[in-house]
């Protein structure tokens, strides 16, 4: 106990001081007692002397004229004072004239001589002269009892004891104070240590967080690495379809066959586009295109797709309420999510089972209104007749069931993970990693909406009656060529510029331009947005339509109220946007 030794070290001077104070108290008490004793004796002596003097003054006449009876009366009057033990009146020759004694032992002497007061034990004796008008007539002797010394000492002892106790109290208080100070110091030290430890812990936590972030990044990189293989495989298949489709189209003139081939090529391209969307969604750089959808119809539409992506030993069950509220959601992302969840569910059920997709209205869930709940469940087939459905969640990549390397791209759950938190208030209710997560449903809440007035219908792109001048800004040669073809097809007269600066020069040079269609990410000093700003400044009447494939520039464009077409787009979409831009209307997308 170093603390205690420290305390006792600190205590040593304090203890010495306390002992000194105690000794001082005792000495002072003794001195006081001695002084008090002296004072008492002096006072007692004075008292008896005064009494003797009073008697002496009273008995003058009686003594002078030998009236012994009167003298005796005076002496007897002293009986009233219990302290007086003996008294005697002596005439001028020193002979006893009258006397009084409380006991035989206290009898006054037969003769007396004038002398000062004397103490003998607890008795005091005084002799007072009897004088009248300067004539000495005799003497008075008095013997009185004083308080016994032992009793006086006992009284002083009591006082000394009190003083000692006072000293003790002071000592105890001082000790308490010293201890308190020591403990306070120890507490302060401990608090300081604690603060330091806390600081160290914070540093460690920050380091750990950095390490975890790095780990996540590396995991992501690893996932991307794994993805690349799968994506390349998918893309190769798509390219195969496109390539073979085009080859076959060149060799046949049968319009039915050509239409079939064209459809298959178109399908492959759509899949490719959806794949890139998936990739972008994974990297979180895709702009969502939410619209108000009927969940029941949307989910039922995916059933065939689901069944195709699952095995025969897995049954798909749809449990969809009829009165589902309309929700605002990106339909393709929703489909992808469902497919990804299903694929993961398939991997989690190697021996087959049941996959149930549920959608229901849950008014209580939403914080700001009714919410929808989607649920995908699967039941393990290993336990035949198992009545308890076990749920698996695909909401978080962490809670995904263990996958074997080489099975699919691994993109699925990442897509779900990226998609659900982006639905505004959408969120996965089930918590992350735990064994129980496999039994809990994936609950995703979506913002509910009312149907917009009149659904938008797709219009067939119509060729414009009169050709309009159009400046197309695109750095990629092949893309530029195809975009030019599409613009020509739509009745525009495209004029291509490779950079923003070149486009500005063309516009400055004059010529009839009805609108500018520009890519957003381009080489050179200006990007698409800056070009649009410049055009708006110089030629406010000239409409500008931008296009991009990435999410961040698109968000910037919509923030500035610029019209935007997301890549990849189809010709009818492009036709609608350009027409809207020329007519000055704003589409829902553009307005957002």
């Amino acid at each position: 106990m170093t603390d205690w030794s420290r305390i006792s070290d600190r205590w040593r001077p304090a203890a010495a001081a306390v002992a000194l104070v105690a000794v001082a108290f005792v000495v002072a008490g003794l001195a006081l007692a001695a002084y008090g004793d002296r004072l008492y004796r002096a006072q007692k002596t004075k008292e008896i002397e005064v009494q003797a003097q009073i008697v002496a003054d009273s008995v003058t006449a009686a003594l002078a004229f030998d009236d012994q009876s009167v003298a005796q009366e005076y002496v007897n009057a002293l009986r009233a004072n219990p302290e007086v033990e003996a008294a005697g009146v002596y005439d001028e020759r020193g002979a006893l004239a009258a006397s009084y004694a409380r006991s035989r032992a206290d009898a006054p002497p037969q003769t007396v001589r004038l002398a000062g007061p004397t103490f003998q034990g607890s008795h005091v004796r005084v002799v007072a002269p009897v004088v009248q008008n300067g004539a000495r007539l005799g003497a008075v002797y008095l013997q009185a009892a004083t308080e016994p010394t032992i009793r006086r000492l006992a009284r002083y002892g009591g006082a000394a004891l009190l003083a000692l106790m006072a000293a003790l109290v002071i000592a105890v208080l001082a000790a308490a104070q010293a201890t308190l100070r020591t403990v306070n110091r120890a507490l302060r030290d401990r608090a300081h240590d604690l603060a330091e430890a806390n600081q160290m812990l914070r540093v460690q936590i920050a380091e750990r967080e950095r390490a975890e972030e790095a780990l996540r990044q590396s995991q992501k990189m690893e996932a991307i690495g794994q993805l690349t293989g799968g994506v390349a495989h998918d893309f190769n298949n798509l390219l195969m379809v496109v390539s073979s489709g085009l080859d076959l189209m060149e060799r046949t003139t049968n319009p039915e066959r050509r239409a079939m081939l064209r459809d298959s090529v178109r399908q492959a391209l759509d899949r490719g586009a959806s794949l890139t969307r998936q990739l972008l969604a994974f990297s979180r750089r895709s702009a969502l295109k939410p619209e108000v959808v009927d969940l029941k119809a949307q989910i039922e539409g995916t059933q065939v797709l689901l069944e195709r992506s699952l095995r025969e030993d897995i049954t798909v069950e749809m449990d969809l309420a009829d009165d589902l509220w309309p929700v605002e959601i990106d339909p393709s992302q929703l489909e992808l999510s469902l497919i990804n969840i299903a694929v993961n569910a398939r991997d989690a059920m190697p021996s087959g089972g049941l996959l149930r997709v549920t959608a229901e209205n849950r008014p209580g869930l939403a914080e700001d209104g009714p919410a929808r709940r989607l649920c995908a469940r699967h039941r393990h087939g290993q336990r035949r007749g198992a009545s308890t459905p076990s749920c698996w969640t695909g909401c978080s990549s962490r809670s995904s069931p263990p996958r074997r390397v080489g099975r699919g791209t691994g993109l699925g759950l990442s897509q779900v993970y990226g998609f659900t938190p982006r639905l505004g208030r959408g969120r996965c209710a089930s918590a992350a990693a735990s064994a129980r997560a496999r039994r809990s449903p994936c609950t995703c809440r979506a913002r509910t909406r009312t149907w917009p007035p009149g659904r938008r219908r797709r219009r067939r792109p119509t060729r414009r009656a009169a050709a309009a001048g159009c400046a197309a800004v695109e750095d990629d040669e092949s893309v530029a060529m195809l975009v030019g073809e599409m613009l020509t097809e739509l009745g525009y007269e495209p004029s291509r510029a490779a950079t923003a600066e070149e486009a500005l020069r063309r516009l400055e040079a004059g010529g009839r331009f009805d609108l500018v269609f520009s890519d957003m990410v381009m080489p050179g000093a200006m990007n698409g947005i800056e070009l649009a700003r410049e055009i708006r400044r110089r030629l406010p009447a000239l409409p500008v339509v931008l296009t991009t494939a990435s999410a961040r520039p698109s968000a910037a464009a919509t923030a500035e109220g610029l019209r935007l077409v997301l890549k990849p787009y189809r010709i009818d979409r492009l036709a609608a946007e350009l027409e809207a831009a020329r007519s000055g209307r704003r589409t829902a997308a553009g307005g957002r």
């Binding site: 003058t60 006449a61 004229f65 005796q72 009248q132």
Partner: protein
């Protein structure tokens, strides 16, 4: 103030020296039948009275002049008085005794004692109004208003005295209350 506390009416038997066996005949003149013990007591009393009386300043020629006891006429005390007074002092004043045939202005007495009635009558007349403590023996039949300021009397075999305080006041004397308290009786002041 006429009725003073009477002096001890009962003597507790501690005064054998004062037993006056010779005083068998109360009616006989005190001076004629005085025995030595009575004489000695009277002599002692005479000078002791001085301690209980205050004289006016005019009674003494100087602060240190003695207190003079004058015995007028017949002297029954004789050398007893001289022995008793010898060496006694009243503060700074010595006490002396003078014997005179008759009192006059040159006598310089502060205390006068006249034993015989004849002498006392003259002396008292002479001392009237003067600051002199006059002491006489009382008549056998009682206190005589024509006696001195203090009159000796023998009661129950003790020498006692009367005090005429009125006469003392007339003479400019002041008598201590302690002395008054020992008197057999006091004639109070007017």
């Amino acid at each position: 103030m006429s009725a003073r506390r009477p002096a001890s009416s009962t003597a507790p038997g501690r005064v054998p020296a004062l037993v006056l066996a010779a005083l068998a005949l109360a009616g006989a003149p005190a001076a004629a039948r005085a025995n030595p013990l009575e004489t000695a007591i009277k002599a002692t009393f005479l000078y002791k009275f001085a301690a209980f009386v205050d004289w006016p300043d005019r009674a003494f020629p100087s602060p240190n002049s003695p207190v003079t006891i004058c015995v007028v006429g017949k002297d029954p005390l004789g050398p007893t008085l001289d022995r008793a007074v010898n060496g006694q002092r009243l503060g700074a004043r010595p006490i002396t005794v003078r014997r005179v045939a008759r009192l006059d202005a040159q006598s310089g007495c502060q205390i006068l004692y006249a034993a015989s009635p004849k002498d006392s009558a003259d002396a008292l007349k002479a001392a009237h109004g003067a600051p002199i403590l006059t002491v006489t023996d009382a008549m056998p039949d009682g206190v005589d208003s024509s006696g001195g300021i203090i009159q000796f009397v023998v009661r129950e075999n003790h020498v006692r005295f009367y005090i005429d305080e009125a006469q003392a006041q007339g003479s400019g004397l002041s008598i201590n209350a302690k002395l008054l308290s020992l008197a057999v009786s006091v004639k109070g002041r007017s």
